[in-house]
């Protein structure tokens, strides 16, 4: 088989992404059809910027989802004749092409890029969500009560913020520190927040319906607690609570550490934002009204203040996923945390940059992928901001 030209290569790429195109068309058709009934999400389809951003983001989400259908080769199998081969080179067995070329070990760049999207799409939004839970749970009372609590928490947040991110990563993710179990101890603290958040949320709302509330609380405690214990603990590491048989989530140790450090770095900023918004909103009339009604503080914070702070928080959530993606890339770039075999974009850029002068494509492809995803998230955030300001 002969080498593919640029046109044939692009066509081949488009063909491989077929499941993604179908999913995108379906999503857009349905969303535009029912956009008037979908609230803020529907309004997104009124702005071109927002729509473009959403399309790019969903492209990568669907790529991650259908990665198994899209990849043309195994992400780890090496074909030695394909080392640093240019995009569009056919494989020696004559069955297919390396659409975007081969890397320094003769692996398919295209397949690794697609598989890498899975790593990012799995970690970044979830880590951001956790950071938001931590930031909201601490930021609301800090802004609402003020005083000593606020001073203490703000000092802690500023402490973490004053740390250069890379130094923090180097300190948290090196094998020596992982051996002491420190990241797992941080995980124990950080992962507690989502459960606390949900429990306080339900408790403050259904305080007057004790029967219902107790049932829900017990459900959260059991399910959340089980997930928590199986997430934090891992047999053979420092923190091993559950025996292997009932340990539901087997997170590879290094992914947990990467996850923890990203949450740890992000939560102080979220805390500051939530605190600032709370300070602003607590002077509003509806908060005074709730106070006069005799509502309890946590009800006011979670059911009066938080819903009214959703606009800036949703926008920041999108931006922060992008920032988290950049952080994950940074970790990979310095070879921290994730294994060098991992197809995630940061690690592949790091592996490819050393041979940039001989073969630039192994580094360029994941670099462009990462850039487009972050750009999509930024555009999406911009569109959301514009639309949420309109009403």
């Amino acid at each position: 088989m002969e080498e593919l030209g640029w046109g044939a290569m692009l066509l081949g790429l488009a063909k491989q992404f077929l499941p993604v195109w179908i999913a995108l068309v379906v999503t857009f058709a349905l969303s535009i059809r029912y956009k008037r009934r979908l609230g803020l999400y529907g309004k997104l389809f009124d702005s071109n910027i927002g729509m473009t951003g959403f399309a790019i983001v969903m492209f990568w989400v669907f790529s991650a989802l259908f990665a198994d259908l899209i990849v043309t080769h195994d992400t780890l199998s090496q074909i030695s004749q394909m080392k640093n081969k240019a995009p569009g080179t056919p494989t020696p067995d004559g069955l297919g092409w390396y659409l975007l070329g081969g890397d320094h070990l003769g692996r398919d760049v295209f397949s690794r890029m697609v598989a890498g999207s899975r790593v990012v799409i799995q970690i970044a939004p979830l880590a951001t969500l956790f950071a938001f839970m931590v930031g909201v749970t601490l930021g609301l009372p800090a802004g609402y009560y003020g005083g000593r609590l606020d001073t203490g928490l703000s000092f802690l947040a500023n402490l973490i913020l004053a740390f250069p991110v890379i130094l923090l990563f180097y300190l948290l993710v090196t094998p020596e520190i992982v051996k002491t179990g420190l990241p797992q101890y941080i995980a124990i603290v950080l992962f507690l927040f989502p459960i606390v958040f949900l429990m306080v949320l339900i408790n403050s709302r259904y305080y007057v319906k004790p029967n219902f509330r107790t049932k829900v609380l017990i459900a959260i405690a059991v399910i959340g607690g089980y997930l928590y214990l199986s997430l934090v603990g891992e047999v053979g590491s420092k923190v091993a609570v559950l025996p292997n048989a009932i340990d539901l989530i087997h997170m590879p140790g290094n992914i947990l550490i990467v996850f923890v450090s990203v949450v740890f770095v992000n939560s102080p900023t979220v805390f500051r934002i939530v605190r600032g918004i709370t300070l602003d909103i607590k002077t509003r009339d509806y908060v005074s009204a709730a106070q006069t009604r005799g509502e309890r503080p946590w009800y006011i914070m979670l059911w009066e203040i938080l819903p009214n702070a959703r606009g800036p928080l949703i926008v920041d959530f999108c931006l922060r996923i992008g920032y988290t993606t950049i952080l994950l890339g940074t970790l990979g770039f310095f070879g921290l945390g994730l294994s060098p075999e991992s197809p995630d974009w940061g690690s592949t850029i790091n592996a490819g940059r050393k041979l940039l002068t001989i073969a630039p494509h192994p580094a360029i492809v994941p670099a462009l992928a990462l850039m487009s995803l972050v750009l999509g998230l930024n555009l999406l955030a911009d569109g959301l901001r514009e639309e949420s300001l309109k009403d």
């Binding site: 250069p164 630039p360 998230l377």
Partner: protein, 346 residues
């Protein structure tokens, strides 16, 4: 104002103390010390030998004591062995009686780097100088470019110019240094693209030329430009809708004059804080870019220290990094007050 400054300085000192303690704690965890002992005394020594080596070299005392010694508020350790007194503050061959009691960071003694075999203070001094040059050129490129883009975009909100400049700034904030660096090298420094610049900046440490220094500077600046430009744009659009701008326009002042003489000064207050707060970010970028372009400055040193378990050097680097971050925060706060008379400090 003075009380505000004093309070800020006090918080700053407290933060620096806490942060250095955290770094000290993290770099002096038992596995790190074990690795240090093995790299200094031989990799095949037994656990008991590791312990005795650590004891002999002053790593055996409690953490707080060691932190105090390192900081220079506790007397350095001394140990007598075969009639020879060794100690933290006693240089090789020095008479113990003449050695100072305290020797820590506060006394200007930063320790000895195990990777570079040199005094940490000297290493950081030279490296910081190299990074300073890089930072200077980044600022020279970034600040005017970002302000220009922001002002041009913000003076007529919603115009075509605004749309395209805003898209550019969004794109540049979405491109982290390791992405733009890789792309720039591939396009401008390989035989496949145009070979205009050099892909490494190693030679820039001796003599800076446009050819070897422009790409690293541009890489760092690009990421910052977008952010500062967006802030400037936001603040500019806000100022342009103010009453006094309309009055000036109605009086018949030309648009250019309104922008230059009336709007610009008020619009630059917010970006000032942002530019100052960019320093910690730049530090991040510096580490990435220096690694990517192999420019042996401060960021490169930090990576080497962290990667090779060089405890003293890593501590020194973190002190510098933390002090830089805190100082810029202070300057930005104080400067904000000076620039904006509407803000009163209670």
């Amino acid at each position: 104002m003075l009380r505000f400054l004093l309070r800020r300085l006090f918080t700053m000192a407290l933060t620096a103390l806490c942060l250095t303690f955290i770094v000290f704690f993290l770099t002096n965890l038992p596995p790190n010390l074990e690795k240090l002992a093995k790299s200094e005394a031989g990799s095949r020594i037994s656990d008991a030998e590791v312990r005795s080596w650590l004891d002999k070299n002053g790593h055996g005392s409690p953490l707080l004591v060691r932190y105090g010694e390192w900081l220079g508020v506790m007397p350095g350790w001394t140990r007598e062995e075969n009639g020879v007194t060794r100690g933290r503050c006693i240089a090789r061959g020095q008479d113990p009686a003449t050695a100072p009691t305290f020797c820590g960071v506060l006394e200007g003694n930063w320790g000895f780097s195990s990777v570079f075999k040199d005094d940490v203070g000297t290493i950081i001094g030279t490296r910081l100088g190299l990074t300073g040059i890089l930072m200077f050129w980044v600022m020279v490129l970034m600040v005017p470019a970002a302000l220009l883009i922001g002002v041009l975009a913000g003076m007529r909100e919603g115009s075509k110019l605004d749309r395209s400049l805003s898209t550019f700034s969004i794109a540049s904030t979405a491109t982290p240094e390791y992405v733009s660096g890789v792309i720039l090298i591939a396009v401008f420094a390989t035989s496949m693209g145009w070979k205009v610049f050099k892909g490494t900046a190693t030679s820039a440490m001796d003599s800076i030329t446009f050819e070897n220094f422009f790409l690293p500077v541009l890489t760092i600046a690009l990421y910052g430009i977008g952010y500062i430009a967006r802030m400037t744009r936001a603040s500019m659009t806000e100022v342009m809708t103010a009453q006094y701008i309309r009055t000036a326009r109605l009086k018949g002042v030309s648009f250019g004059n309104v922008v230059m003489k009336h709007a610009l000064r008020n619009a630059l207050i917010a970006p000032f804080t942002v530019i100052m707060l960019q320093f910690p970010w730049l530090l991040n970028g510096v580490v990435i870019v220096e690694t990517l372009f192999n420019y042996k400055g401060f960021g490169w040193t930090l990576v080497q220290a962290a990667g090779n378990n060089d405890i003293q050097l890593l501590l020194g680097c973190s002190v510098v990094a933390v002090v830089v971050v805190l100082t810029t925060q202070l300057i930005s706060d104080v400067g904000y007050v000076f620039l904006n008379p509407r803000i009163r400090i209670s």
